[in-house]
Amino acid sequence: MDWGLASLFLPELALLGTALGLFVVTTTVGGGESADLRRAGAMADRVAFFGAVFAALLALVPAEGQLFFESYAVGGFSQSVKLLLCLGLAGSAWLSRGAARGQVSVRDRPEFHLFLTLATFGMAMLTSATELVGFYVGLELSAYCLYLLVAMTRREGDHAEAALKYFIQGATLSAVALFGMSILYGLSGTTSIAGIGAAVTAEPTTLALAAVLLSLVGVLFKLAVFPFHFWAPDVYEVANDGAASFIAAASKVGAIAALLRLLTLGLGHDGLFWILGGLAVASMTYGNLAALVQKDLKRLLAYSGVAQAGYLLMGLMGRDEAAWSAAIYYGAAYLGLLLLCFIVVVEVGRGREDARLPISAVNGLYKKSPMLAMVLLVGLLGLAGVPPTAGFTGKWLLFKAALDGGAFWLILVAGINNTIAIYYYLIVLKAAYVDDVEDPTPLQTSPLGPKLGVAISLAIVLFGVFPQWVMPRLLDAVAAIL
């Protein structure tokens, strides 16, 4: 049975199917009794999680080809990114089951999962879109779903403020990005990225490069690079853990894919990449410095995310397959590491009313749950770029690529930044391993939580030590889009 074109669209179909299922569940919720509300919530959790896992499996199916009249390219690059996105979705859905720490009201749980799935579909769409309009609609679909996810946190108080700030900055910067894209359309007459790329390289006027930079703004906002990162600390700190983990992990991978897709426009021009280099250094330094004084764990992870975006952007200075594949590898490592951190956040914050989680909440973790302490250890050391985790190998490959782009002194700045970063990762580690806690009662964690954490950390260490399992495939996947 020849699936024909549909075989190329399987992961997206799975996501849409899950969305449909969730939509059906939302309709059944009508009634007010809490018993069937709870049942519907649990049903929604299961549908979302298994739908995501199914989509991830489908993403493994090798697919190569064009869809929708050449506006949708499916290949090694897009499928590997979709795999990561679906794993991110599965992770976040699993983390927000039972509305993680009761931050999302039972009534809203089906909608919550619906938005998660739609956001993932949006990002999957922008990964394969070879055409500006599809790219942009995908970007906005995932963006709006994220705004709503943040706004849905049940607790009264700051969540609405964070959501609004997130929305306002997102909306304005997407208007600016649209402005840039309209100019690109004006210059090249077509909306297909390849066509625009050809037009821009044909006569690289300042206007063309400016337009490319403007259209990148939307993606840089999602990636939380320095001037466009102001939303991140507030959103991470206040949003419910499920949404925060999705924004931190999966959405960043989507942003990386979007960046790789759009940067193919301005490949030939050093000026554009020197500006991106400047942004990279700014976000590295700002992110690391601001994180030094943080007291809230999720806010610290936000600033560290800004810094990691800086490292990533600098890696892309290499402008060749090595840089692009290193970026994806680093994105995958970052996804895994963030999921580890958020597993610890969810498990440790289980009884807490407020969505915030001070670093002192992790005190004495080595006594309360040794396995979680080990998960936190691998997560933080991976983020800090310490061997043998994938964080280290990723950083090495990224900076090697950056050096091929002639950024020797930038790497020195990145090195120094890395040392500054070690300080605040070690502060959290100190809290977990060294500081004592009054009630050493063992933490009652969910049965699967720490075990999943250990599994992911094992994967991270193995992929860190054996990058060759995955890098060659990434290299020729990336060759397709460069």
Binding site: A322, L381, L397, K400, G415, P467
Partner: protein, 491 residues
């Protein structure tokens, strides 16, 4: 057996890693079982490192027991492991200090599982550095060796442990912040786009100005760990705060990582840059020797004294490397080995004293010779090695280095020789204050080193004596490799 010999280096590396895995699986409570696993894995690594010593063929300068696996060819990374004259002694040193370190911590009761897990990770890192011949794996193991230090000191340390742990880790990683671009720069600016050290060394590329900058980064980056003059302030604080076996591993082996890095990467791959940097290295080494000795003289805490003495002795190593002569470099490598064993012995004795008297203030200790004859004799043997008394390994090292130094830079050489007096001053001052003199009331009935804990220290003292009486053991193995290195440096 042949298979074992072919892959002996990876097996040595795997000993601590497998040990780590087993320790992780053991339940938290069973302390003794964990200690036994640690002892077996460290013992095995010691036996294997002795086997490597036996298998080593001293007549060639090339790498031996080489294992080569193409790891990630697209990025120029491959797993190459091998040992030659320069690193042979270091592997044995790590084996010995690791085994004696585990034995010294046999009476640990607080969080034993985590302690041995982190120690195993640290030692795996150190073994990895000494045997790897690929920049990527070199740096990977280098960082792996540095990071467990933080937790080892912060959890099991003593005075101001958290501050000391943080300061130590940040300082060392600041060093590696310089190394990161340098190592990648080597692969990039050589045009070969490979991290294989032997290829980079043989390619004799014309590095030009960049060579100097890269060497500067490598020297300062590794020099921070080797405790070169202006960047040494972390090491005494780190030693004082660290528990006994950790300071043994740290001062005994980790500081050699720095000097070995400068030797293996700086001097072999960038010989011309080494030529122009040598005077700077010599002057800083001289500062190390004299400055370290005089600061040690002013210390009131036993461990601070040993910490600064390590700074002083590492100065001798760097001076030896800076002379770029056969005698100088052989002396430097011999000193790396001898100082490692000596400091390990020093720290294990001080550890015993601290566990019993709970103080390391020299003013409060006194007349221990009569209450603890064994600990005192061992400390005095270590002290004598520190001073460079003949028939102990350190004498030969310092003798060769100073003779070579006088040959290449007469002024620096003569000033360095004054280091002999300076080191005598501070060691004898401590011996006289803590061990000689009337036995104090407070320390009247303290137990001496028990028979169980004695073998670890006897191994260390024995090694000092054996290499002191027969320096040929060390020098014949070094001979060919150092001759090849000197030829490369002469250019």
């Amino acid at each position: 057996m042949a298979w074992l010999d072919a892959h002996i280096l990876t097996i040595i590396l795997m000993c601590p890693v497998v040990g780590l895995g087993i320790v992780m699986l053991i339940h938290n409570g069973k302390d003794l079982l964990i200690k036994q696993v640690a002892a077996v894995s460290s013992g095995l690594s010691l036996v294997l490192s002795l086997r490597v010593w036996a298998l080593f063929d001293a007549s060639t300068a090339e790498l031996q027991m080489v294992e080569r696996v193409a790891w990630l060819p697209s990025a120029g990374i491959n797993y190459i492991v091998g040992v030659d004259g320069l690193s042979l002694a270091m592997v044995l040193l790590t084996g010995i200090v690791f085994f004696t370190g585990v034995l010294t911590m046999w009476e640990l009761t607080n969080r034993v599982k985590e302690y041995f897990a982190f120690t195993m990770a640290l030692v795996a890192g150190v073994f990895g550095v000494f045997i790897s011949q690929d920049l990527f794996f070199f740096f990977l193991f280098y960082e792996l060796a540095v990071l467990p230090m933080y937790l080892l000191i912060a959890i099991w340390g003593s005075t101001r442990r958290e501050f000391a742990a943080m300061k130590l880790t940040l300082f060392l990683l600041a060093g590696s912040a310089l190394l990161f671009p340098a190592l990648i720069g080597l692969a990039h600016y050589s045009g070969l786009n490979t991290f294989d050290m032997t290829l980079l060394a043989e390619a004799d590329t014309d590095w030009g100005g960049m060579g100097l900058i890269l060497f500067g980064f490598i020297y300062v980056g590794f020099g921070v760990l080797a405790g070169i003059f202006p960047f040494h302030t972390w090491s005494p604080i780190g030693h004082v705060a660290a528990p006994t076996a950790v300071s043994m591993l740290h001062a005994g082996v980790l500081m050699k990582l720095g000097a070995y890095g400068v030797l293996r990467i700086g001097m072999i791959i960038l010989p011309e840059a080494m030529g122009s940097w040598a005077p700077v290295i010599a002057v800083l080494a001289l500062c190390n020797i004299l400055y370290g000795a005089f600061v040690a003289l002013g210390q009131t805490d036993l461990k601070y004294m040993i910490g600064y003495s390590s700074v002083s002795h590492m100065g001798v190593v760097m001076l030896g490397l800076a002379t770029m002569t056969h005698a100088g470099i052989s002396g430097a490598i011999f000193q790396m080995f001898a100082h490692g064993i000596m400091t390990a012995l020093f720290f294990s004795c001080v550890g015993h004293i601290y566990d019993r008297t709970h103080t390391r203030e020299i003013s409060r200790l006194g007349g221990l010779f009569h209450t603890m004859p064994r600990a005192s004799t061992l400390f005095i043997i270590a002290g004598m090695a520190g001073i460079g008394v003949p028939c102990l390994a350190s004498f030969w090292a310092e003798f060769l280095v100073f003779v070579a130094a006088v040959k290449t830079w007469p002024i620096i050489g003569i000033l360095a020789i004054c280091g002999l007096v300076a080191s005598a001053l501070f060691v004898l001052r401590v011996i006289q204050k803590t061990f000689f003199g009337p036995p104090l009331e407070a320390w009247k009935d303290l137990p001496d080193i028990s028979n169980g804990m004695l073998p670890a220290r006897l191994i260390l003292a024995g090694t000092l004596l054996v290499f002191g009486i027969i320096p040929g053991l060390m020098l014949t193995n070094l001979d060919e490799s150092v001759r090849a290195l000197v030829a490369v440096l002469a250019g």
